[in-house]
């Protein structure tokens, strides 16, 4: 166990339950994310990944249990206070959720404009964020004119514009071709290793998850390199949680999951 894991978690789910008309969708989730850790949520469709992320951002409230983020029990906060609190959270939605009547620039700048930053600063930070996702040239386009991968990247730029300490990624590679998916994963690696964010990442693709565990972004060379072979302890912290039907089915690091013989977990390995 790495030393950080013992310290206060940044995100903690404690016995979280939520149900809809169709039945219980989350059945007592307990999960903790340590500072600077990337927790990868794997699970088949409908297993509750999106629900967990929305709970972590306070977009939904649990029917039972607690959600604690940065030491605050957000499941008991008023929506008014939550609006301010969410400044510390970047959310990359499953389908991007870009404002389709606003340009790329307006989408990325949205949060800064809402906070009333001055235009010169906005301009600079928007360019920086778009440069980070390599989309500076698309600044004046509308979301409808972009490809799926580009939209996803704009959505990442929008989430990181205020440099939040926590980023929640909902299936950032879903529905993308492998090459584009790889670009997105590289971006997420860069964000993790240069900004030190704490992240929850939902995905169907375990190869993305392994890439997160096995590679790191080297700020000096500016490339992605394998984590030192002498053990993952030198690399950034990545751990996995496999969700099944609204419950945590398996939890562990990349070695534990690779060795796991369980048939449900194995399904994601192929």
């Amino acid at each position: 166990m790495s030393p950080n894991a013992a310290s206060e978690p940044v995100i903690a789910f404690e016995g979280v339950r939520i149900s809809f008309d169709e039945g219980e969708a989350l059945r007592g989730i307990n999960l903790r994310v340590a500072p600077q850790e990337t927790k990868i949520l794997v699970g088949e469709t409908g297993s509750g990944k999106t629900l967990l992320l929305k709970l972590a951002a306070g977009l939904l409230r649990p029917d039972a249990g607690r959600v604690v983020v940065l030491g605050q029990e957000i499941s008991a906060m008023r929506e008014k206070d939550l609006l301010d609190f969410r400044r510390q959270i970047g959310f990359v939605f499953q389908e991007g959720a870009l404002f389709d009547s606003l340009s790329v620039e307006e989408n990325v700048a949205y949060r800064l404009r809402e906070e009333g930053a001055d235009e010169a600063e906005i301009e600079e930070r928007v360019r920086e964020a778009l440069r980070f996702v390599e989309l500076e040239h698309a600044i004046d386009k509308l979301p409808g004119e972009l490809s799926g991968g580009m939209r996803r990247r704009v959505s990442i730029a929008r989430a990181l514009i205020s440099a939040p300490p926590i980023v929640l990624y909902d299936s950032p590679t879903a529905g993308l071709d492998p090459v584009t998916a790889q670009t997105i994963i590289t971006l997420i690696l860069r964000l993790r290793d240069t900004h030190g964010v704490t992240a929850l990442l939902a995905t169907h693709r375990l190869q993305d998850a392994f890439a997160m565990a096995h590679y790191r972004f080297d700020p000096e060379s500016g490339r992605v390199a394998p984590v030192a072979p002498n053990g993952a302890s030198a690399g950034p912290m990545t751990s996995f949680a496999v969700l099944c039907d609204g419950a945590v089915y398996f939890e562990g690091d990349h070695r534990a999951i690779a060795e796991c013989q369980d048939s449900y977990v194995q399904k994601f390995l192929v």
């Binding site: 977009l59 301010d84 969410r86």
Partner: protein
């Protein structure tokens, strides 16, 4: 499913009633929050002006067109009655009173409901299903403040103006027909029309659109924000918004008229 089959009709009705009550409660809460937001910053002035343009300027042509023909047809209908008693001079009174008190406000409200309740519901509904509303919340914006309040304020401000335009254009329509068909003297028509109107009529004619504007915008927003179930849900919400807003306007119109007549008589 098995259990559902055994549910007694009584508890099924209770379930439906419960849902209705919750819906009314949600709607009331939305209305309250939309209005309460006006008192505190941030206020979205640019959005409000934008909506005033969409709702006010955008509705102007249809409101004028219908206003004109409503006024015109009223002269045709009333004149054929008045001619029997040789009292065609009274048409100005009738057109003015009916337009200002009743037809102007309700026809404008129904037209704007058809145009904007549906527009608001489909716009907000699409934003809900594409998670743009959640994205807004995730970035610290209150969607009621940013989306609902500007639309409600804009409609409340614009509908009385649209109604005033409809009233005026209606009187012009009435005048043209009375002049061309009945050979009514212009001075006679206009003085009668203007003299017929009392202070109470004007108050009635301006109070109604304020309240109708509130109804049609809040219903549109409510229907849009409660959309579930994709594109189909958006379609349903759009129709629902027009139906609910129109019916509500006509029902409220009755009670409001009763109330205003009681005050001004």
């Amino acid at each position: 499913m098995h259990e559902a089959a055994e549910v007694s009709p009584l508890s099924a009705i209770a379930e439906v009633v419960k849902r209705r009550i919750f819906a009314v409660q949600d709607y009331a809460l939305l209305c309250f929050r939309a209005m309460a937001n006006i008192a505190t910053p941030p206020r979205y002035l640019a959005e409000t002006l934008d909506q005033m343009d969409v709702i006010g300027v955008g509705s102007l042509p249809i409101v004028m067109l219908t206003g004109f023909f409503i006024g015109a047809v009223m002269v045709l209908q009333t004149a054929s009655q008045f001619e029997r008693f040789g009292q065609t001079a009274l048409t100005g009174d009738v057109v003015a009173i009916a337009l200002v008190r009743e037809l102007g406000p309700s026809i404008s409200a129904l037209l704007v409901a058809g145009r904007n309740s549906s527009g608001i519901a489909s716009e907000l509904g699409s934003m809900v299903v594409t998670e743009q509303v959640d994205a807004m919340r995730a970035m610290g914006t209150d969607p009621i403040r940013k989306l609902v309040t500007p639309r409600v304020v804009a409609t409340i401000l614009m509908l009385p103006l649209l109604t005033a335009v409809a009233d005026f254009v209606g009187l012009v329509g009435g005048f043209l027909v009375s002049n061309l068909e009945l050979r009514l003297n212009p001075v006679q028509y206009w003085t009668r029309a203007i003299d017929a109107l009392e202070f109470g009529d004007l108050i009635q004619g301006l109070t109604k659109p304020l309240i109708f504007g509130f109804i049609l915008s809040t219903v549109g927003c409510y229907q849009g924000l409660k959309v579930r179930g994709g594109t189909q849900g958006v379609g349903r919400a759009t129709t629902q918004a027009v139906v609910v807003a129109s019916v509500l306007i006509l029902v409220v119109n009755f009670f409001l008229t009763r109330f205003l007549l009681w005050i001004f008589r």
